[in-house]
C-alpha cells in the first residue's frame, strides 16, 4: 500500500493523541479493578486499515513513545505492538474480513497479544513481576473492556484516517456492484 504524506501526518497525530489520552486519562479510570488500553486497539485498527507494514511501523513508534512517556524500559511496548500491528495488517491482506464484529475480535486478540507478550517479556528480562489469578483476571478484564470499546474506537480511527487512505478496494467493489463500475460522480 502506498503511504501518502497526508496519511503519515495523520498517523503521527493519531499516535501522539492515543498515547497522551491513554496515559493522562484512560489509565486513571478503573472499572472492576481494570482499565482499558487504547494502544493495542489503535495499532490493530491502523494495521487493519493500512496493511501490515504500516501497522508494524505505527506499532513500533507508538510503543516507543508510550515507553518514553511513562519512563518504562524502552523497546518493550514497541516489540509487542509491532507484532499486533503486523498481525492485524496481515489479516487484512489475506482475508480482508468484512463482518461487523471484526473490530471486536481483532481488538481483543491484539490486546491479548500485547498484555500476554508484555508479561512474557518481563519474565524474560528477569523483572520480579507478580503472577497470580488476580493478574490473569485483570488481563481478562482489560481484554473484555477493549473488545467492548473496539467498535467505536475503530470507527473513530477510520474517520480520522479515511480521507488520507487510498481508495479502499472494498468500497471500489461495492461501487462497481451498485453503479455498474462507475463512480456516482463520473456518471453524473
Amino acid at each position: 500500500m502506498v503511504v501518502s504524506p497526508q496519511l503519515i501526518v495523520r498517523l503521527v497525530l493519531l499516535g501522539l493523541a492515543v498515547v497522551i489520552l491513554q496515559v493522562a486519562a484512560v489509565s486513571q479510570v478503573v472499572l472492576f479493578g481494570a482499565t482499558a488500553d487504547l494502544t493495542p486497539l489503535a495499532v490493530a485498527a491502523v494495521g487493519l486499515m493500512c496493511g501490515s507494514i504500516t501497522g508494524a511501523l505505527f506499532g513500533f513508534f507508538v510503543g516507543l513513545f508510550f515507553d518514553a512517556a511513562l519512563v518504562q524500559t524502552l523497546g518493550l511496548t514497541s516489540l509487542v505492538c509491532v507484532i499486533a500491528g503486523y498481525g492485524a495488517g496481515r489479516l487484512r491482506e489475506l482475508r480482508d474480513p468484512q463482518a461487523t464484529v471484526v473490530p471486536m475480535i481483532v481488538g481483543a486478540v491484539a490486546t491479548a497479544i500485547t498484555t500476554f507478550g508484555y508479561g512474557l517479556m518481563n519474565f524474560m528480562l528477569g523483572i520480579d513481576a507478580p503472577v497470580s489469578f488476580l493478574l490473569l483476571r485483570v488481563i481478562l478484564a482489560t481484554i473484555v473492556f477493549n473488545a467492548i470499546i473496539a467498535v467505536p474506537v475503530f470507527a473513530l480511527i477510520r474517520r480520522c484516517l479515511g480521507p488520507a487512505l487510498p481508495d479502499d478496494p472494498r468500497r471500489r467493489r461495492r461501487r462497481a456492484y451498485t453503479t455498474g463500475g462507475l463512480s456516482p460522480l463520473s456518471r453524473a
Binding site: 472492576f32 488500553d37 507494514i53 523497546g75 514497541s78 508484555y118
Partner: protein, 296 residues
C-alpha cells in the same frame, strides 16, 4: 513483483523486531544517567505539559466513570465501613486519653520540640498527570519536578479521597525532570520500606507480595514478634545510629493494615497488609522534600 513485496514486508518486520530488541538490551544495560535515559527524560519534559493539559481537560470524564465504578462497589463497602467505624470509635476514645497523657509526659521530659507536624518535612503538593495501564510497572507521573525542589529518592504520601483512613505512604520519587517527576509506587518489586506495627509488636521490611500487586507483605519479621490482624503498619524511619544509613522515609508514616499473618509464630511468619491508599485512585500526592533529624 510478488516476491519483492514479500521480501520487503519481511525485511521491515525483521528490522523493527531487531530494533526493539537492541533498544531493550541497551536500555536495560545502561546506568540511570545513560544516553537513552537522558533522551527519555527529555521526552518526558516535553510531553508532561501536554499530559497535564489533557489530564485536566478530561477530568470530568474520569470523574464520571469513577462515579459509576464507585457506585457499584459502594454498597458492598458500606457494611464493612460501619463495622470499622465502630472499632475506630473505641480506639479513638482510648487514643484521646493516651494523647493527653503523652503531651503531659513530653512536657515533663522536655521533648516539646519533637516532630509532630508534617509541615516540617516540606511537603510539596502535586497533581497526578500520568499512570501506567499495566500491573507490571507501578509508576505514576506528577506535574512537579526538580524546579519545585523535588529530587530522586524523596518519599511520597497521598490520599485516595475515599474517606476514613485513606492517607499514607505510596512510594518514592524515581526520576525528576524540571517540571515533572516519576513516582515508583510501593507495589513495585524494587521498593522496600523499613516498617513496624504502630504498637511496636513487629518490625520488618514492607515489600509487594509475590502474586498479588495490590497486597503488601511485612518481610523479615522475627520469630518472637507478635503481629496481629488489624494492626496498623507505619514506617520505621532511621534506626541506625550512623548518619550514612539514614532512612529515605520519615518515621510513623502510615502504610497499611495487617489483613492476615501466614505461619504465625514461625521463623518465617509473614504478615500481609492492605495499603491504606488505593494506588489507582490517587489524584494528588505530597512529596516530602525535607529530612528532619535524619528521619529518626
Amino acid at each position: 513483483m510478488y516476491d519483492k513485496t514479500v521480501r520487503r514486508r519481511r525485511a521491515v518486520l525483521g528490522a523493527l523486531v531487531v530494533s526493539s530488541l537492541i533498544l531493550l538490551t541497551a536500555y536495560f544495560r545502561e546506568p540511570g544517567g545513560g544516553a537513552l535515559h537522558h533522551v527519555q527524560r527529555g521526552i518526558l519534559e516535553v510531553v508532561s505539559p501536554i499530559q497535564e493539559g489533557a489530564s485536566r481537560a478530561l477530568k470530568p470524564v474520569q470523574d464520571l466513570f469513577g462515579w459509576v465504578g464507585d457506585t457499584v462497589s459502594a454498597k458492598g463497602d458500606l457494611q464493612e465501613a460501619r463495622k470499622e467505624r465502630d472499632q475506630w470509635r473505641t480506639i479513638a476514645t482510648r487514643n484521646a486519653s493516651a494523647t493527653r497523657e503523652n503531651a503531659q509526659l513530653r512536657k515533663t521530659l522536655g521533648l516539646d520540640a519533637a516532630v509532630t507536624d508534617m509541615a516540617l518535612y516540606g511537603p510539596k503538593t502535586a497533581r497526578v498527570i500520568g499512570q501506567s495501564p499495566t500491573l507490571w510497572y507501578a509508576k505514576i507521573t506528577i506535574d512537579k519536578g526538580s524546579s519545585s525542589g523535588i529530587r530522586a529518592g524523596m518519599p511520597v504520601i497521598a490520599s485516595d479521597g475515599k474517606g476514613g483512613q485513606d492517607t499514607g505512604l505510596i512510594g518514592r520519587v524515581d526520576q525528576a525532570a524540571a517540571g515533572t517527576a516519576v513516582i515508583r509506587l510501593i507495589t513495585d518489586s524494587t521498593v522496600a520500606v523499613a516498617a513496624r506495627t504502630v504498637t511496636g509488636s513487629a518490625m520488618g521490611v514492607v515489600k509487594p507480595s509475590p502474586g498479588n500487586p495490590r497486597d503488601l507483605i511485612l518481610d523479615y519479621v522475627a520469630k518472637d514478634d507478635t503481629p496481629a490482624t488489624g494492626q496498623t503498619v507505619v514506617t520505621a524511619g532511621t534506626v541506625s545510629k550512623t548518619s550514612e544509613l539514614d532512612s529515605v522515609y520519615p518515621p510513623d508514616l502510615p502504610i497499611g493494615r495487617i489483613t492476615r499473618v501466614d505461619d504465625q509464630g514461625a521463623a518465617d511468619q509473614t504478615p500481609h497488609l492492605r495499603p491504606f491508599v488505593d494506588l489507582r485512585r490517587v489524584q494528588f500526592v505530597q512529596v516530602l522534600t525535607e529530612k528532619v533529624d535524619h528521619n529518626r
